[in-house]
Symmetry: C2
Subunit: 366 residues, 2 copies
């Protein structure tokens, strides 16, 4: 594991802090030593995010963080994912200042710091490295769509949603963890920078790829995982929404993964797109209809995001969705994945057999 | 106009020769002096393509072409658009040899020759220029989607289709020409390399752009045309198909143009995608349903591609479509645009008023 602190000034726990939020929830590659967000300084990151402490402190600023951490070789993860095209001058200065203190920079933005003269000179001067997570592979190493995805007989489940930053990746990661606990060899295919930062072995940040390659790289990641790991099930992270006013990533992910089933993520209380507030969110019904019209697949479960809801309201809303849509419905952060299992085992009985065999084998013997 | 010859060995008139075919049909920027395709050497390009001569000869090879042309400053347009990622060695040699003879290179491939050392050195050595038509603008000059397209009250019509290379651009260009003849200020928005090579003033080859920018650049081209030209109607070229197994361009074009109406292009006899023959084409009905589910718009007319059909069969098929879909149906290459006018004037009566005023003003006065 690589030691790291995450910079997320003013945004930790919010929509634009989704890179930081994701890494606090799940991180296989980086050992997160702290978060920098002066607006929440002194709080515990886990408690602020989900109500249960995880011992990761939130610092006032970089000085305080470095003063409190004895480790060396610390990576500085830029944990804000804004919608703007370029960093502001003050945001640039935050990163440059971290470099001057000897920290390596992990950058998930579409803006590539390795291709920016000021950053590359600073890296040379202070002997630090810059990792541009979203740098697209060279064209020579990119894959066109081939159609071989149709030969994959292992169930492919894609987690789509009705908006950006709505919980698709969180549900994907939680579901993969829960499946593994049942002895099911589930593989996660990341399609965004946070999933890759979290340590996903398969996938690429597809939003920097052009039309043909985005689809081809999703297919290729699945084919590679399928060939190398013989999984029982493949869980593909979605991006944005198929109906999103601006982004085509969901379209590429659906075409590249050609899923046997879809789980749809939705925030019951969100009425407008988080990054395009002039556009209303689709109804869940219309999004399900669009997905099933777009691709011969089936939405088999609903994963809710509880933002803006209290526990008891969430309970009622879940029951309402289950009744209206006749689909298993859950909030994986509050209620775990058992309802998603119900949907998966109903559609793919072999998966249930794998879990049963595993659990039988794990029983204490007389 | 710039003097040019088009290289289209073995592919002129076929699907992969679509850049050459398009330029022979319509060219506002280049004066096409000849086509190179040894398999059709000696024929007239117009006659081979559409049955009526246009005086553009087809040559055996570059030597023959240059021997027959007295003009200097000739541009060499690479007129094949294959599905493969890179040029083969022999294809590279054809272009290098043209450069050695002093020809400037016009390249519509996604492979950028200006970024290829061998080509850029050859260009310096022989003092010729390379124009990479599909080179994406710098990120600094690209536009994110803003949603301002919703403020455009001028009718926006997008020409979509059920496959690549099915006639969307041809229908778009013919329709714009026909509208202009009626005094209607119609603006064409190109979204692919051929439209831009043909001289379109607005648009960008979107298939080299990533998710957010593809949508944003389509929107931006429309906003710019709308602001600069006060058009009566805006015609947007589609790419691929919304249901295409690999490409997401149609998705970006629909999101960026948010059309008031769609005209759909279809090849009645084509059963499989031309570049993915393992995938069946959608039925026209399912594609129309998908488009209207994807975006709040309306398919108002069908433009057929007559490939594989004789005149009388085409007539019958057109009548069959009109009856089955209750939509005006035409093949613009064989029957012109009057049926598309019927659809447009029905949906946008103001356009008919513009045409009536123009034609009244053009009547000879007593």
């Amino acid at each position: 594991m690589i030691n790291a602190i995450i910079y997320c000034e003013n945004e930790f726990g919010k929509v634009d802090g989704k890179v930081a939020n994701g890494l606090i929830r799940h991180s296989e590659k980086y050992r997160i030593l702290g978060v920098i967000d002066s607006s929440k300084a002194g709080l515990d990151a886990g408690e602020h995010l989900s109500g249960s402490k995880n011992g990761i402190p939130i610092f006032q600023n970089l000085d305080e963080a470095l003063g409190n951490l004895s480790n060396t070789q610390i990576h500085f993860i830029y944990g804000i994912a804004p919608n703007s095209t370029f960093l502001s001058l003050s945001q640039r200065n935050v990163i440059l200042s971290a470099m001057e203190r000897g920290l390596n920079i992990v950058n998930g933005l579409p803006e590539l710091l390795t291709e920016d003269l000021e950053f590359s000179q600073k890296a040379t001067e202070f002997e630090v490295k810059i990792y541009d997570i979203r740098k697209a592979p060279n064209r020579q190493n990119l894959h066109h769509f081939t159609g071989k995805i149709n030969d994959v007989k292992t169930p492919v489940i894609t987690i789509l949603g009705t908006d950006c930053a709505v919980g698709k990746r969180t549900t994907s990661v939680k579901l993969v963890e829960a499946l593994k606990e049942e002895g099911i060899n589930a593989i996660f295919i990341a399609t965004g920078q946070t999933g890759i930062l979290q340590g996903a072995k398969y996938g690429v940040a597809i939003d920097v790829l052009s039309s043909g390659f985005a689809t081809g790289e999703v297919e290729h990641a699945i084919l590679r995982a399928h060939g190398e790991r013989q999984p029982d099930v493949i869980i593909v992270e979605g991006q944005g929404a198929l109906s999103h006013p601006a982004y085509t990533s969901s379209s590429a992910i659906l075409k590249g993964s050609r899923p046997d089933a879809v789980i749809i993520q939705h925030a019951h209380k969100r009425k407008f797109h988080c990054d395009y507030p002039q556009f209303r969110l689709p109804s869940l019904l219309s999004e399900i209809n669009l997905i099933e019209t777009f691709m011969p697949t089936e939405v088999i479960a609903i994963a809710l995001n509880h933002e803006g809801m209290k526990e008891d309201e969430l309970e009622n809303v879940i029951r309402e969705y289950e009744s209206n849509y006749t689909l298993p419905t859950t909030d994986v952060l509050k209620q775990g994945c058992s309802d998603l299992f119900k949907a998966l085992f109903g559609k793919f009985p072999n998966l249930e057999q794998v879990a049963l065999s595993y659990n039988n084998a794990c029983q204490p013997q007389d």
